[in-house]
Amino acid sequence: MQKLLTILQDLHPEVEFETADHLIDDGILDSFDIVTLVAEIDDAYGVAVPAQELMPENFNSAGALYALIQRLRDE
């Protein structure tokens, strides 16, 4: 989780990712961020996020994103 928080913090130093839970709905993450995030997650965790997992629900909070990474790693 710490690795993921670092990745997110690098993208948006101004956001409190521990508590923010409307990253998409509030327009904090944009398409630049999503593309970057997917690439960085691949680098850091070795998981490729497939197209069908690119949904607002999976990106709205650091927790949701981490749950997605774990789920993809288990598969």
């Binding site: 993450l29 944009d30 398409s31 999503i34 593309v35 607002p56």
Partner: protein
């Protein structure tokens, strides 16, 4: 002969008044509604003393925004789109240079509009759009209008830190649209899926042909561009058959293997511009949609929009250069070498553009206009203006034009045209920055800012976000103890590009 772009709308409204013209997340408008509201806005503006003035349209993306553009033109003015995503400092810079006759806003933007350092008039869209349509005023305005009169100013990145306002006119837009439509085969059944923001000239590709043919433009919600499967579902749901998108929006879909799950069902035409389309991604699109026509388009804002086109009809190998093809009819491309002469066949030269489609130049900047729009250096017999793009091109063995590189430090990043100099100017303006240099890595699509000075990377990042649009914010800030220099004392950009310090 047509001399006003509004004639497109007027012919269409007689034919299909109730057909949907523009549709978005928060409502749609028929051609009749666009026509009536635009004429009411035109009447209002003229009565308010706005004639031949810049009219700022500062509204959320919506069919009404396009109607406000047309309303400005009905009043004999030219529109200037501003976007709420622009940082405040940049908006104020633009407003200062414009001194607009009016700023039109909506319920989303009014609060911010009233906080800006701007002392001119502010108008809510609804106040004007549902008022009186004064036929007499509108016909007077039309009678005095020439096809060389300006209709818009769009702002593009400027290397000295001040955005440049490019002015298009009726004649340049008509020439552009007539030829674009003929090549891309738009018609009344075309359903555009608009991706590009309304504050750039790129959206003319959809807006004006919609008016011309009575075709429909769907304004796709921006958030969908984060989620490829939902995006393709949306294209299918709205029966969108034509895309004119920036490359990064298309590769977002193909690179996540979206086509394994869902495919666009209605696409007839996919046109793309602004960047080089990676061949592997292009091949994925072509394999998924074998019946769709694919076009690579090229052209700068200064020549109204796209001026060269290439239809992808043959298989391209990875690593092969995707041609930008050939110019539209009534447009000439001239390659010029450093001495202002045409290079030998196959050799490189600067891409220069000649034709009616040349815009009027930069607003209130005679010097920059005269540097970029010059007398054709191949003769001095009569005035003959060409636009120097700053792009280097050459012809391949098939006679197709190829884009090779930029002459300067302009880059294309996520579909946006950016002068690295503009970012550097903002960084250097920070009191604790001594020197700054930005480089771009097109493979990783990252802008890296190198700087010397005592400010921390985090602080500088924060500062930059207040001054520049999101797409111009460097991904990485690297603090150096000294800038690497070349033997003749310039900043060594090549070394910085390789990641050295």
């Amino acid at each position: 002969m047509q001399r006003n772009i509004l004639e497109y709308l007027e012919a269409t409204v007689r034919r299909v008044p109730d057909k949907g013209a523009f549709a978005g997340e928060e409502g749609s408008m028929s051609f009749r509604q666009v026509y009536d509201q635009a004429r009411a806005i035109g009447s209002y503006l003229y009565r308010a003393g706005c004639y031949r003035k810049p009219i700022v349209v500062f509204m959320k993306k919506h069919p009404r925004t396009i109607t406000a553009f047309l309303g400005a033109i009905y009043g004999g003015n030219y529109y200037v789109p501003l976007d709420e995503e622009m940082p405040r400092a940049r908006m104020e810079l633009i407003l200062q240079s414009l001194e607009p006759g009016m700023l039109i806003c909506d319920e989303h933007t009014e609060g911010l509009a009233r906080q800006l350092a701007y002392s001119g008039c502010i108008l809510r869209y609804e106040e004007a759009a549902f008022g009186i349509i004064d036929e007499e005023i509108l016909s007077q305005v039309r009678g005095r209008q020439l096809d060389i009169d300006p209709i818009y100013i769009v702002f593009t990145s400027g290397s000295t830190g001040v955005p440049k306002g490019v002015m298009g006119c009726h004649r340049s837009v008509i020439d552009y649209i007539e030829n674009l439509c003929a090549v891309l085969k738009f018609d009344e059944d075309t359903v555009f899926g608009n991706q590009t923001p309304l504050y750039f000239d790129a959206c003319l590709k959809e807006i004006i042909p919609s008016l011309k043919y009575g075709a429909t433009t769907q304004l796709i919600p921006k958030q969908l561009f984060l989620f490829p499967v939902q995006l393709v579902d949306y294209l299918n749901q709205k029966q969108i058959n034509t895309l004119c998108w920036v490359v990064s929006a298309l590769t977002m879909i193909s690179s996540f293997h979206t086509f394994d799950r869902v495919k666009p069902k209605f696409l007839r035409t996919v046109a793309f511009a602004s960047e080089v389309f990676p061949i592997r991604q292009l091949n994925a699109w072509r394999a998924a949609l074998p019946k769709t026509r694919f076009y690579n388009l090229y052209g700068p804002t200064e020549t109204t929009g796209i001026c060269c086109w290439y239809e992808v009809t043959r298989f391209l190998e990875e690593g092969e250069a995707l041609p930008i093809g050939r110019p539209f009819p009534n447009t000439e491309i001239i390659l010029l070498d450093e001495n202002g002469r045409v290079p030998a066949p196959g050799e490189q030269g600067e891409i220069c553009i000649r034709g009616t489609r040349l815009t009027l130049g930069y607003y209130r900047d005679r010097e920059k206009t005269d540097t970029a729009f010059i007398q054709n250096p191949l003769h001095d017999l009569y005035p003959d203006k060409i636009y120097r793009t700053g792009d280097i091109g050459r012809y391949n063995d098939r006679g197709e034009l190829l884009f090779v590189a930029r002459k300067d430090h302009q880059i294309k990043h996520m579909g946006h045209r950016i002068e690295l100099g503009e970012i550097e100017a903002v960084l250097s303006a920070h009191p604790q920055v001594r020197n700054a240099c930005c480089v771009y890595d097109p493979q990783r699509r990252k802008i890296t800012a190198h700087y010397t000075g005592s400010v921390t990377p985090g602080e500088l990042d924060h500062y930059t976000r207040e001054k520049l649009p999101r797409y111009m914010i460097p991904a990485i800030f690297r603090q150096l103890t000294a800038m690497p220099l070349t033997p003749n004392g310039k900043i060594d950009r090549h070394l910085l590009c390789r990641g050295g310090s």
